[in-house]
């Protein structure tokens, strides 16, 4: 029989027993639906994690962190000055495999512009901070080497700071405006663009479209948001930070020996990652006078862990969907077996007029594949609907993503399940003896 004829016969049989067919499809509908939904959810999580990883920087970034001094070195811990600006200067001078160096000094300060005042973190930075923190400017410029050298009173602010302290002003209008940090005037020289995840962006657009933007705009503040820190940044030159706010606290301190809060490095070339770390370690051994009180924290392990978490999530989701698909397949097998028992005489008649075993086999198989495919189609619709409902009812951090590949994969699975569950009934039907099948009552 031609494939078209097979399909036609199969569809006729399916439509002749609508309720029974629907019942046998149900398992596949649920299986494919959950497959689509879990794939969309895990893909959403994956995207979210990757966006997060990208925002905090890639593998080429290294953090110099403090470490507990081990027992043997306890006696001379005070020999080491800890992480200071000197570290950054020495690394810059003696570690050519390091391309960017970003020391930071933090200050919790009172910020005010006119009537509006609030507390916020202020960070003193070097120009390399723009690369280390992956900042992008919307307007103006970043802190330059000149700013650091002259300890200018320039400040670069995040988008949320702009909207909070300069309400109603655009980024361009904010440039040149004055902002007081602990009462000391700074001039805004740059404004960053708004950092947000795809989902927040979409949410904002939806809300804006509904004209309720103002009511919900701040809602993301209550949830964990990896980009919030960047949106609320207030950055000034590191030298200005020291001279304005840190000098004089300890009369003996000079700028080079005061402790810094963060030291981020960027390796020039990932191919020479180990060597670069070695150069840094050598430099720091000198500045820390041999005291092992620092650690080089790479993101490799962290990223590996995230990747394996993604893989595990995918795996468990896939497993659940696979189980429900198999259960659906068993349902089809069951109903096909009942259906061929009911049609033994029909099979006998078909054989008597010349159907070969293979024709009967293909007919039953086409039927189970058709049932499974129809179920799969309904399942795809159900899955998409489920994802839409999930987005509306329980918005998660990571927006589920339905991709063409997951739909194709589901169709492939449906065909596979249909074929697998049809094989046994089809074999059983094709092996009937024509004479006894004809006589079957």
């Amino acid at each position: 029989m031609s494939p078209f004829r097979l399909l036609d016969t199969a569809l006729r049989e399916i439509t002749a027993h609508k309720f029974r067919s629907a019942l046998s499809m149900l398992g596949v509908v649920l299986g494919v639906g959950s497959l689509i939904a879990t794939m969309a959810l895990t893909r959403g999580i994956e995207r979210g994690v990757r966006a997060f990883m990208q925002q905090i920087g890639g593998l080429e970034f290294v953090n110099v962190t403090n470490k507990e001094i081990s027992g043997q070195q306890m006696d001379f811990w005070n020999l080491s000055p800890g992480r200071t600006l000197m570290d950054a200067r020495v690394i810059a001078a003696s570690a050519p495999l390091i391309s960017h160096i970003s020391p930071e000094m933090n200050l919790g300060a009172a910020i005010s512009v006119g009537e509006i005042s609030d507390r916020n973190l202020v960070i003193g930075v070097w120009p390399d901070h723009a690369v280390a923190a992956r900042h992008e400017l919307a307007q103006g410029r970043f802190i330059t080497a000149w700013d650091v050298e002259r300890a200018t009173k320039a400040v670069v602010i995040g988008d949320e700071i702009r909207t909070r302290f300069f309400p109603g002003k655009s980024a361009t209008e904010t440039l040149g405006k004055q902002l007081l940090i602990n009462g000391s005037p700074f001039q805004v020289v740059g404004v960053f663009k708004r950092y947000e995840r795809e989902q927040d962006k979409r949410m904002r657009e939806i809300l804006a479209a509904r004209n309720k933007g103002a009511a919900r705009a701040g809602s993301s503040r209550h949830r964990f948001d990896p980009f919030r820190r960047k949106n609320t940044s207030i950055l000034i030159p590191l030298s200005t930070m020291f001279h304005e706010f840190k000098a004089g606290l300890f009369p003996m301190d000079d700028m080079e020996s005061v402790r810094i809060d963060t030291l981020t490095l960027r390796v020039r070339n990932l191919d020479h990652f180990r060597e670069a770390l070695e150069q840094v370690r050598n430099a720091l051994n000198v500045t820390h006078r041999g005291v092992d009180d620092f650690d080089l924290e790479t993101r490799e392990e962290w990223f590996d862990r995230m990747e394996s978490n993604i893989a595990a999530t995918k795996m468990s989701g896939g497993l659940i969907a696979a189980i429900s698909l198999i259960v659906g397949g068993i349902g089809i097998t069951n109903i096909m077996l009942a259906s061929i028992t009911e049609r033994i005489r029909e099979i006998g008649i078909r054989m008597a007029v010349g159907a070969r075993q293979r024709d009967i086999f293909l007919q039953i198989l086409a039927e189970s594949v058709s049932i499974s495919l129809l179920g799969g189609a309904c399942g795809i619709i159900a899955g998409i609907a489920l994802v839409e409902v999930l987005i509306r009812v329980a918005p998660t951090e990571n927006l589920p993503v339905i991709e063409a590949t997951s739909i194709l994969l589901s169709v492939a699975f449906a065909v596979l399940i249909g074929a697998a569950s049809g094989i046994y009934p089809a074999l059983k039907a094709s092996r009937l003896e024509p004479i006894s099948a004809l006589r079957y009552e």
Binding site: R12, I349, A352, V353, G354, I435
Partner: protein, 226 residues
């Protein structure tokens, strides 16, 4: 060429430990264009003989040639092909598919031979018209009388233009008048040159044939012309 040649055919069925000799040495030649009736009491082996002649089964021993092909130990595909090309069946219980209309039932054998959709339709409609069902092409078996059903079955048996037409008690489910009509149809088909084999226990039906073969206990006991 002879339509069917059987030489010393035996057929043994195994039911549990018991062996049942349904046919015990049957030799028979049916020339092309013959009209044969096979009769005998139930259990005599006449149905088994018809199943062999109809390529639904193979003999346990002996030589069987149908339409010039030796099918003594043919596999199921070869038998299916022979049934499809050379043989048409008309059963006592009509054996129509209730879900298909008249055309659908008549065209069934053509589904299993390489015939295009258009040609299949045309041939099925022509066959249905030739048995006088041109007006009922879209009806399903449940909407037809017994006689009409049997005519659909005959049209189905003829649609592939087979050499041999088998009737297995073709009038058994029909009243005598409709039965006579069906037998008349068989006789006119035979006059047109087709080989016909009827299996029946009804002497009146058997009398339609040119040659009557009586079976007893798996052997041919008598052969005569009415």
């Amino acid at each position: 060429m002879d339509a069917a040649v059987l030489e010393d055919i035996t057929k043994v069925y195994r039911v549990g430990d018991q062996e049942i000799h349904a046919l015990a040495g049957v030799s028979l030649t049916i020339p092309e264009g013959d009209f044969v009736a096979i009769t005998g009491p139930s259990g005599s082996g006449k149905s088994t003989l018809m199943h062999l002649l109809g390529c639904l089964d193979t003999p346990t021993a002996g030589r069987m040639e149908i339409c010039g092909k030796d099918l003594s130990s043919a596999n199921s595909d070869t038998l299916a092909r022979a049934r499809n090309r050379e043989i048409g069946f008309v059963f006592q219980a009509f054996n129509l598919l209730p879900k298909l209309d008249v055309v659908g039932n008549v065209e069934l054998p053509l589904l299993y031979s390489n015939v295009s959709t258009r040609e299949r339709r045309e041939r099925a409609i022509a066959a249905a018209q030739s048995v006088g069902l041109g007006e009922r092409l879209k009806n399903r078996p449940a909407q037809l009388s017994g006689g009409q059903c049997q005519r659909v079955a005959i049209a189905r048996a003829l649609v592939n233009n087979p050499r041999i037409l088998f009737g297995d008690e073709p009038t058994g489910n029909l009243d005598s008048q409709t039965g006579r009509m069906v037998l008349d149809l068989f006789r006119s088909l035979n006059e047109g040159g087709r080989t016909i084999v009827l299996v029946t226990h009804d002497p009146k039906v058997a009398a339609t044939a040119r040659r009557i073969i009586e079976i007893h206990d798996g052997r041919i006991s008598r052969e005569y012309s009415p």
